[in-house]
């Protein structure tokens, strides 16, 4: 375990200014100026009044607002003390009057010389390097004790082991402790029992789940895109990355770099690319009419706010429209920060791509095998083969013969429709494309052609491929069924077909079926299956047309065998050959292929040869077996890929988007200057080679560089909240001037310094905190103590607070024995009230609760639907994660009672818990209540508590005994079948007891 280095003594004791002390600007004066003055006399030049700055000492002195040491000459003093409503500052309309105390402080500060300090959070870490007389103590305890002593307070005693076991278990794992673990810990007499207990928890894989929750809030991890249709996207591997990173104790600097720029690391691993999904967690839209520039600007803002919130603790979002009113951040800083992300490939609008495949080791091996198989078969198809070469030569010959015979002329369609609504497009080549979208399972295509040709003796239908090697039908093997064909002329008179010849048929689907008048879906013509092999049917007319007139013919093609047996594309041709049966039957290839065939083989160049060979091999029956094998191998690969997780990741564009400063945030205004990626000017800058343009990777490295004092403070402050209920500065999302100066700043800086300088070791930080005496104090306090420090800022005790939303669920499932402790995987869907998604659209969606194990997973795996977050989560303050959320509120509202009382999750958990109580809790009512209490609360019940639930048990037992219908209904809640070998009445009554226990304030409180 790494130890904090204590070298020099620099301990500032944060106390309120007493009459004897000199005032400190950051502690005493800055909060007043920031809240009352900076809005008009601060960094934002556009809203600065009277050209006066009070955030800058030189300006304030130059304008005589402040004359150090001279109250009479300081304009500020005159103005704050003025009786004249036109003169007084702050002006009455600002609604921010100064109190008498504040006025006095300002005067005293000017009298003392009006010294300024930089904002605390931007200054280097002011850490305590040695604590005199207490050097053997945990530095947290030394510093807290100093603080308490200075305030005349005493720390509280250590909590008992049961309380500590439960507290540690919730804080480190997010789960209640197992009763046997509590008992072992209580009875462990070894001197380092506590430390060992902590180590066991830190080694648990559930530690990573617990730590992930706050991080996932901060980075706004969610399963859906957020805007409008709020459709799903693939991101869960990122969530599992975060869990794994905490479990493996990945150094926080590396964790940061991988998320911001993992894709830019040399030889980036799959894990590092998955980490870069952070860059894709923003809100996106698929709304029709969304404008790309609008959403490009939104996305830029979203990303900048994310960096500001997640790592810097700065409300940089304000600067999208104007320079910051309180902090030294400018609009240029905002857009320059945004420019770091201009290389991230991301469509401004529309559906997200599926993302990168994220196979595990076994899946990766299988993928490699499947890919090799595809490559092998592809090679086999491409390789020279004598029998195919001679087949190709024969085919070329037949094509040439057909061309030379000029037997067939393509008919020009004037109209083509499907009677049931299938749409047909007439192509330039006069072929007809049947649109796949909206194709009907049974339809009649009517194609009208006008022809002046004399003596037409036959009409030919060519079934064509849309893509070489695919089709011509929509079946997987390229086949189709035509059930009936007929022709009428312009007078609606039937044109009789005497006979049909086809290029191919099967015994079950003979050509004759086309004209047998049977309109039955199982009676029709199909060629022998052959993917990519085009086919023809020649309709020989009983009588040729040779009356010397132009004719309009309508050909009716009936397809009744299902949408997946329809033609994709076809063409109609006519011949006037006297013996149409002798006219060549070959289907002519597309013009570009035909052009090559028409050239003498010796004159074809290599590209032409290759093109022709490829065409032939993909459309010939000769190659069918090889092609089928390849197609099957490809399908196997695709199918397997569909079973492998995918994740959106950052991919860097070769040419980044141009980023301009948008005046007042207006994306339609192109007048602003173009900016390059750059760091906020007020912070220490990274060192780059001359002329080098900084990248996301540089940004990431700077964020975790020793020169940046913010990152460590921000993270430590948030971790602190997890263990004490409130941060050392309670504005977890804002360490800027409007945020709260930490109550114990040296404590924050000391922990931050050690964290930053000793390897960004998160587990060590956590170890320090939970091993401290400060952490181990009791959370009980007298009324007076609570009244004096309701939020426990002095740390003279521990805090008590309600569990986070996810943990409320985890706790109930764990107590009930239903919890399935699997780590990671796709998000899951717990029970949710029917119709909760009724306001979603494009498409409308019906929520399908998971069945089996996935119904009983931990809360952090809940499907995170941004626009309709699961209502149980929402009730307990889980954020929708539409914006980065560094902090969660902790409300206490009636919806929470309704969830715990009535949500089937909790009713089922109560019943499962009741089953355990009956099975393992002994035989008497009292013994069972005792057992249940220990399971849920890690302590035995008091007598008065036991009496209350025993009464509920007795009463409900009597009632359920008389009402079998109600009992059955009650026991049926949820998917998990109740045990069948115990009394239903007993189980129902114990379920009532379990419901009481799961609803207790203490059960959902960590103390």
């Amino acid at each position: 375990m790494k130890h904090i280095h204590f070298i020099v003594a620099i301990v500032a004791l944060p106390t309120l200014a007493s009459a004897a002390d000199k005032l400190q600007f950051n502690r005493d004066i800055r909060p007043i100026l920031a809240d009352r003055c900076f809005a008009c006399h601060g960094p934002d030049a556009n809203h600065r009044e009277a050209d006066l700055r009070l955030d800058d000492r030189a300006s304030a002195i130059e304008s005589n607002a402040i004359v150090p040491g001279k109250l009479d000459e300081s304009a500020l003093v005159k103005r704050i003390l003025s009786d004249n409503p036109k003169r007084i500052m702050p002006p009455p309309h600002a609604n921010k009057p100064l109190s008498a105390e504040q006025k006095a402080l300002l005067q005293r500060w000017i009298a003392e010389g009006a010294e300024y300090e930089g904002h605390w959070a931007y200054l280097p870490l002011n850490y305590a390097l040695d604590i005199p007389h207490r050097s053997k103590m945990n530095p947290i305890d030394s510093l807290v004790l100093n603080h308490l002593t200075a305030k005349g307070l005493q720390p509280s005693p250590e909590a008992d082991r049961r309380t500590l076991a439960r507290r540690l278990s919730f804080d480190l794992l997010g789960l209640p402790p197992k009763v046997e673990d509590v008992e072992a810990f209580v009875n462990d007499k070894s001197p380092d029992a506590y430390k060992q207990y902590v180590e066991r928890l830190l080694a648990s894989p559930h530690y990573g789940e617990r730590m992930a929750i706050a991080w996932l809030d901060a980075v706004r991890f969610a399963d859906t895109i957020g805007y409008h249709s709020d459709n799903p996207r693939n991101v869960y591997p990122y969530r599992d990355y975060v869990i794994r990173a905490f479990n493996e104790n990945k150094p926080f600097d590396q964790f940061t770099i991988e998320q911001l720029a993992g894709d830019l690391l040399p030889n980036a691993t799959q894990e590092q690319k998955v980490a870069s999904c952070f860059n894709r967690l923003l809100l996106t839209t698929e709304e029709g009419g969304a404008q790309a520039k609008d959403y490009e600007a939104r996305m830029l803002g979203d990303r900048v706010r994310a960096v500001g919130t997640v790592w810097l603790g700065q409300t940089i979002g304000c600067c999208q429209c104007h320079d910051h009113k309180f902090d030294p951040l400018t609009t240029r800083d905002f857009y320059s920060m945004g420019a770091f992300f201009a290389d991230v490939q991301e469509a401004a609008i529309g559906k997200r791509e599926p993302g990168m495949l994220v196979p595990d080791k076994a899946q990766e091996a299988e993928l490699t095998r499947l890919q090799a198989k595809v490559a092998e078969l592809q090679q086999a198809l491409d390789a020279p083969r004598p029998e195919w070469q001679s087949a190709q030569a024969a085919w070329e010959k037949s094509v040439l013969a057909a061309v030379q015979s000029s037997a067939w002329t393509t008919l020009k369609p004037t109209q083509a429709t499907g009677e049931q609504g299938t749409r047909l497009q007439i192509e330039k080549s006069n072929a007809l494309l049947v649109e796949a979208r909206g194709v009907k399972p049974a339809d009649v295509y009517t194609v009208t052609v006008t022809t002046a040709a004399q003596g037409i003796t036959a009409i030919k239908l060519d079934a064509l491929s849309t893509v070489v090697g695919q089709g011509p039908g929509r079946a997987a093997d390229g086949s189709f069924v035509l059930n009936e064909i007929s022709i009428v002329d312009e007078q609606k008179r039937s044109v009789k077909i005497a006979e049909v010849l086809t290029s191919s048929e099967t015994p079950a689907t003979p050509a004759a079926a086309l004209i047998d008048g049977k309109r039955d879906k199982s009676n029709g013509w199909s060629p022998a299956p052959g993917l990519g092999v085009e086919a023809s049917a020649v309709l020989i007319l009983a009588e040729p047309f040779d009356d010397g007139k132009e004719h309009t013919l309508t050909i009716r093609i009936e397809q009744l065998a299902g949408a997946d047996r329809t033609l994709g594309r076809f063409r109609l041709q006519a011949t006037t050959a006297a013996k149409p049966a002798d006219a060549p039957l070959v289907v002519l290839p597309p013009d570009d292929i035909l052009a090559i065939i028409k050239q003498e083989p010796a004159k074809r160049n290599a590209a032409q040869q290759a093109k022709l060979a490829t065409y032939f091999r993909n459309s010939s029956r000769e190659t069918l077996v090889a092609r089928q094998q390849l197609a099957e191998a490809k399908a196997a690969q695709t199918n397997f890929e569909n079973s492998v997780p995918r994740c959106l990741i950052a991919v860097s564009l070769p040419t980044p988007r141009t980023v301009r400063i948008l005046p007042r945030g207006n994306w339609m205004d192109d007048s602003g200057p173009i900016v390059q990626a750059a760091l906020p000017a007020f912070l220490p800058q990274p060192q780059l080679a001359a002329g080098q343009k900084p990248t996301r990777l540089d940004l990431a490295r700077w964020i975790v560089s020793p020169e940046n004092p913010l990152t460590a403070r921000v993270f430590v402050n948030r971790v602190w909240k997890q263990f004490f209920g409130v941060g050392l500065s309670k504005t977890l999302d804002d360490l800027g001037s409007q945020g709260e100066t930490p109550v114990q700043p040296v404590l924050l800086d000391t922990l931050a310094y050690d964290f930053q300088s000793a390897g960004w070791n998160v587990k060590n930080l956590v170890r320090y905190i939970v091993n401290s005496k400060t952490y181990r104090q009791v959370s009980t306090a007298s009324k007076e103590q609570i009244a004096r420090d309701p939020e426990n800022r002095d740390l003279a005790r521990q805090s008590r607070f309600r569990l986070e939303a996810e943990l409320v669920r985890d706790n109930a499932l764990a107590i009930s024995g239903l919890l399935v402790p699997k780590i990671g995987g796709p998000s899951v869907k717990p029970y949710q009230p029917e119709g909760y998604w009724e306001n979603l659209n494009f498409p409308t969606r019906t929520y399908q609760a998971d069945t089996g194990d996935n119904q009983y997973r931990r809360g952090l795996y809940t499907w995170w639907q941004r626009s309709f977050l699961h209502p149980s989560m929402l009730a307990f303050d889980a954020p929708s994660r539409e914006e980065c959320a560094a902090d969660r509120s902790r409300s206490n509202i009636p919806q929470q009672a309704l969830v715990l009382l009535n949500d089937p999750t909790y009713v089922e958990a109560a019943r499962a818990f009741a089953g355990r109580i009956m099975r393992d809790g002994g035989t008497t009512v009292d013994a069972r209540i005792d057992w249940a209490w220990r399971q849920a609360l890690a302590r035995p019940p008091r007598d008065d508590e036991r009496r209350v639930v025993a009464e509920v048990f007795a009463k409900h037992h009597e009632q359920f005994a008389k009402d079998a219908v109600a009992t059955d209904a009650f026991l049926k809640v949820g998917q998990n079948a109740p045990p069948s070998d115990i009394s239903k009445t007993d189980l129902a009554a114990w379920t009532s007891v379990a419901r009481v226990i799961l609803n207790l304030h203490e059960t959902i409180t960590r103390n």
């Binding site: 805007y227 409008h228 809100l283 839209t285 029709g288 009419g289 969304a290 404008q291 609008d294 939104r298 409300t315 902090d327 999302d733 804002d734 800027g736 409007q738 945020g739 309701p790 939020e791 309600r802 009230p833 909760y836 009724e838 306001n839 979603l840 659209n841 941004r866 977050l869 209502p871 929402l874 929708s880 539409e882 914006e883 902090d887 509120s889 902790r890 409300s891 206490n892 509202i893 009636p894 919806q895 009672a897 309704l898 009382l901 009535n902 949500d903 089937p904 508590e945 639930v949 009464e951 509920v952 009463k955 409900h956 209904a969 009650f970 049926k972 009532s992 009481v996 609803n999 304030h1001």
Partner: protein, 474 residues
């Protein structure tokens, strides 16, 4: 009126505590009586007393989701009819936001429905609104409305929260945070939704009634037409109300025992919340049971109780208003007429005309119109240019909304768009102005109503300032 020192101290405290302390704990810290726990927790509001005498006590906001065409409803443009089929002059459209018509030829598209003057005030509105026409003298029509967003989702966000960035409180949350609850067995802020029959039902996200950075207790509660009206309202199957009462009572006793040793204000609040939940389990079904309304009232609205229609929701809104609910927001969807705007508005008019009239008349009869502000508004309007020959695209430069009751001057038309109905040109109103006016009617000075968020005094009306529409106040 100046807030007392005590008030300032409290507001400062609220501002500073912001997110980290439970709302309920605030309730206790405000020294409210704890003799009856549920009452103790009834949120008193931070604006106490109001900044000035309020005209309205509550708001019923009728959101016409999808963006109703002002040109077929409340803004008659004969000049547009004359220009029908002609190219839209580029002077109107150059450099302006455009949604689905991007890159397309822009042609004028004349009003598809007739207009008529109604009432003594002679306000001219679509002739299909015959019922609304009978109460037009109660209404103030604003024809110069503008907004910043042009896609549904961000536009709703802007209309509800004054910001296009997620995470801001909805105006219903602001209102209840400021003014507190008048009821302790129903939520303070209630949302009702209904579908139109035209199939253009755009999605509405729950963020539209989110409390954002305000504590969760201020979030809107969606009363649903199907299933439990409030999520998780019904007892588990097989559990009687008495038995549920036993559970709640045992929990209360045990929590009380814990509190006697711990003095944790959260415990007292927890007890109160369980009582409120248990009360809601009875009061919400009673509220939803509009079958107890006399036939004459059902006829007035033209609905069957529980039929899920906009009219049924209007009737529910009145019942909620009677029971002291502070902010009631209805969403009626299906106004997104990219095509077939004529048939579309005809259908919507049939769905809302009688219901809007009935709501105004019913409240008036009960003497509640005077202190109930009704607002009818879409998230934006529609283009004077045609889309696909029969419809109109999204449009944010000028559209119409109306208000009634709650201290608004009736029979008034305010503001105007240009002759083609493209841009608001006279007495231009933006979303912040509407919010400021609404707050003003509720007795709140919007400039003095803020919440500390990320270091800023965040306001519903934003940082740019807003104007109370003094001209429309009665």
């Amino acid at each position: 009126m100046h807030p007392s020192h005590h008030e300032i101290a409290r507001r400062t405290f609220l501002g500073r505590t912001g997110l980290t302390i439970g709302a309920a704990a605030l309730g206790t810290l405000l020294n409210t009586s704890s003799t009856r726990a549920a009452t103790a927790d009834k949120w008193p509001g931070v604006i106490q007393p109001t900044h000035h005498a309020p005209k309205a006590k509550r708001v019923i906001w009728l959101t016409m989701a999808g963006g109703p065409s002002h040109l077929e409803t409340f803004d008659y443009k004969p000049e547009l009819a004359k220009q029908h089929g002609q190219p839209m002059p580029e002077s109107f459209t150059k450099g302006q936001q455009i949604a689905q018509l991007q890159g397309q030829k822009l042609n004028c598209f004349g009003p598809q429905l007739g207009f008529k003057k109604f009432g003594q005030s002679g306000q001219e509105i679509c002739e299909l609104f015959e019922q609304i026409g009978t109460v037009v003298d109660e209404m103030c029509i604003i024809r110069s409305m503008t907004t910043e967003a042009i896609n549904h989702d961000p536009a709703h966000m802007f209309m509800n929260t004054g910001s296009q960035i997620a995470g801001r409180p909805s105006m219903g949350s602001w209102t209840t945070y400021g003014l507190g609850a008048e009821t302790d067995d129903l939520p303070m802020f209630v949302v009702l939704t209904s579908l139109g029959k035209g199939g253009q039902n755009q999605p509405i996200a729950a963020r539209q009634w989110s409390s954002g950075f305000l504590p969760s207790r201020f979030q809107g509660v969606h009363l649903r037409g199907k299933g439990d009206p409030v999520l998780y309202l019904s007892n588990p199957a097989g559990v009687s109300r008495d038995q549920q009462g036993d559970i709640v009572s045992a929990v209360k006793t045990l929590n009380g025992q814990l509190d006697s040793t711990l003095h944790d204000p959260e415990i007292a609040t927890r007890i109160a919340q369980y009582e409120m939940a248990y009360q809601m389990q009875a009061s919400v079904p009673e509220l939803m049971n509009a079958a107890s309304e006399p036939q004459s009232v059902l006829d007035l609205y033209g609905c069957q109780p529980g039929d899920g229609s906009f009219a049924a929701n209007c009737l529910l809104a009145r019942r909620l208003a009677e029971r002291g609910v502070r902010f009631i927001q209805l969403y009626h969807k299906d106004w997104d007429h990219h095509g077939g705007v004529k048939a579309g508005v005809e259908q919507k008019a049939a769905e809302i005309d009688r219901a809007c009239m009935a709501l105004i008349r019913d409240l008036k009869q009960r003497d509640m119109l005077k202190d109930t502000l009704i607002v009818w508004a879409g998230e934006f309007g529609r283009t004077p240019m045609s889309q696909s020959g029969t419809g109109r695209d999204h449009h944010n430069k000028g559209f119409s909304i109306w208000m009634a009751g709650g201290g608004v001057k009736g029979g008034l038309s305010y503001g105007a768009t240009d002759e083609l109905g493209y841009a608001a040109i006279k007495d231009v109103v933006n979303v912040h102005d509407v919010h400021a006016t609404m707050l003003h009617l509720l007795g709140i000075d919007h400039q003095r109503f803020s919440f500390k968020f990320q270091g800023l005094d965040a306001k519903l009306t934003g940082v740019e300032g807003a104007r109370v529409l003094k001209e429309i106040l009665a």
